[in-house]
């Protein structure tokens, strides 16, 4: 279970503070697939970074009672001057697993060939995304945080990722934030909408979708 208790996050701007998250409360149960819909700039990524522990709230409490992934945003989490293999070793060390046990999987899944032993900064964005995805699948989490699934690699690779994540790991929790409602409708059993820093949970995905559409059209 993940519990967010009255999370407030403000950013300093030239004209005072801008409240990104305004007393957000949220509980994610084990095995739950929760989607959070929000427009660009509604605070989705901030929320997911706070849940992952990458960023701290100004006030409020985050409680993680299960193993939560880092945000699968398909690029962050790497040191550019290290090779793919070095990054794998680094991540293995901090998550306390034997790197030899996941190396085969990552090397095969990421399809980097000889580039696996080249610095990450020489990778194309597609290659970086493949490595990031392979690494986050190599370490088993109870809850995966997903920030906007964008197409990784070609259609076949994308298909492979979706299968690994949503088929093989369907017993896990997922928290997906996106502005793309179809993604959330496809993969989530519950949904909420984040608008101007306020999070509202709905009883069904359809209800959340309707409200989200209303918000989109009001502002259009």
């Amino acid at each position: 279970m993940i519990i967010l208790d009255n999370i407030v996050r403000k950013y300093k701007t030239r004209n005072g503070y801008h409240t990104v998250l305004d007393h957000v409360n949220l509980t994610v149960q084990k095995g739950e697939k929760l989607g959070i819909l929000g427009k660009n700039g509604s605070g989705k990524s901030t929320l997911i970074r706070i849940i992952s522990g990458h960023e701290y709230p100004d006030s409020g409490r985050v409680e993680r009672r299960m193993k939560v992934s880092w945000p699968l945003a398909f690029s962050g989490g790497f040191q550019g001057s290290l090779t793919g293999l070095d990054n794998l070793r680094f991540i293995s060390r901090i998550y306390d697993i034997d790197h030899a046990s996941i190396r085969g999987f990552v090397e095969e899944f990421a399809e980097l060939g000889k580039f696996f032993r080249e610095p990450v900064k020489t990778y194309s964005s597609g290659m970086q995304a493949r490595l990031a995805f392979a690494l986050s699948l190599a370490i088993e989490f109870d809850c995966y945080l997903i920030d906007e699934i964008i197409a990784v690699g070609d259609a076949r690779f994308h298909e492979k990722c979706m299968h690994e994540l949503f088929e093989k790991r369907k017993d896990r929790s997922f928290l997906i934030v996106s502005h793309d409602a179809s993604l959330i409708r496809a993969h989530c059993s519950h949904a909420a909408v984040l608008e101007s820093g306020i999070l509202v949970r709905y009883t069904s995905v359809d209800e959340a979708y309707e409200n989200y559409m209303n918000i989109l059209h009001c502002n259009a």
Partner: protein
């Protein structure tokens, strides 16, 4: 309850040590790489520099007014200089060059600084020891008269440098000005840091002034440790200890500032 707390503490400690270990490996790989001489440069560079300076200074010995043997004077001075210069400049870039790794919640600001400072201090200490050994082998230096005093001076110098690196590293995250100002400031510090003079050579008025400079004390201690009582030295352990303790407190408070992580 105490058992539970103890278990929690041990768990956190082992996690932190693991993260620092991983960061150390990451720094070693990127810095000393797999190409060229890698790690060897860390040891070779100060040796090349010191040998060159010793040759130059020996040639101008009489005109420069150095009243002691040149080699140990340069070795103790340059190694100390290397400590605070390296730590301060490495500190400033710490967060920036590790920012992407902070995506993992295990990696804290503190771990990044500890790993960096540990690596720099360890590397320079190794090069200092090697330099001493080489110079002793060449007959340009003898075994220190008071090794304990020399080591204490070195430890205090390392402690001061690591704190300086962390403080500047944290402050530079808040304002770019810190880095810009530190460049000239570190040059101004060169002549007064105690690297190029011994306190005893100065006039009493100047002596009083330079005794306020923290680095003067450990460098004098190291030189006192090398020559023993044959060369007069001036230092107060209490003063440099107090400075180091206050700087440690400042470093810990700056790293604990939650905004440090938010700047990511």
């Amino acid at each position: 309850m105490n058992d539970e707390k103890w278990a929690g503490f041990r768990q956190s400690l082992s996690l932190q040590l693991r993260v620092i270990g991983a960061l150390l490996m990451r720094e070693i790989i990127t810095r000393y790489g797999r190409n060229n001489l890698g790690f060897l440069w860390l040891l070779l560079e100060p040796i090349i520099f010191t040998v060159g300076v010793v040759i130059l200074w020996s040639a101008f010995h009489n005109t420069l007014g150095i009243h002691v043997e040149v080699t140990p004077f340069i070795v103790t001075g340059y190694s100390s200089l290397l400590l605070w210069r390296t730590c301060s400049f490495r500190g400033i870039k710490s967060i920036e060059s590790n920012r992407s790794l902070m995506h993992h919640r295990q990696v804290k600001v503190q771990d990044i600084f500890y790993a960096r400072m540990l690596l720099d201090v360890a590397g320079i200490t190794a090069s200092f020891l090697l330099l001493m050994a080489v110079m002793m082998g060449m007959g340009l230096m003898h075994f220190p008269a008071d090794p304990l005093l020399l080591i204490t001076g070195w430890i205090l110098m390392s402690w001061f440098s690591a704190c300086l690196g962390i403080i500047l590293g944290c402050l530079s995250e808040h304002s770019e000005l810190v880095e810009r100002l530190w460049h000239p400031a570190s040059y101004f510090m060169l002549p007064i840091s105690g690297v190029f003079f011994m306190v005893d050579w100065l006039t009493p008025t100047l002596q009083k002034l330079v005794m306020w400079v923290p680095t003067v004390h450990p460098i004098e201690m190291m030189r006192g440790g090398y020559w023993g009582s044959t060369v007069p030295t001036h230092f107060q352990i209490g003063y440099i200890l107090l400075v180091c303790l206050l700087m440690t407190l400042a470093a810990l408070l700056l790293m604990a500032d939650r905004r440090m992580k938010m700047l990511v």
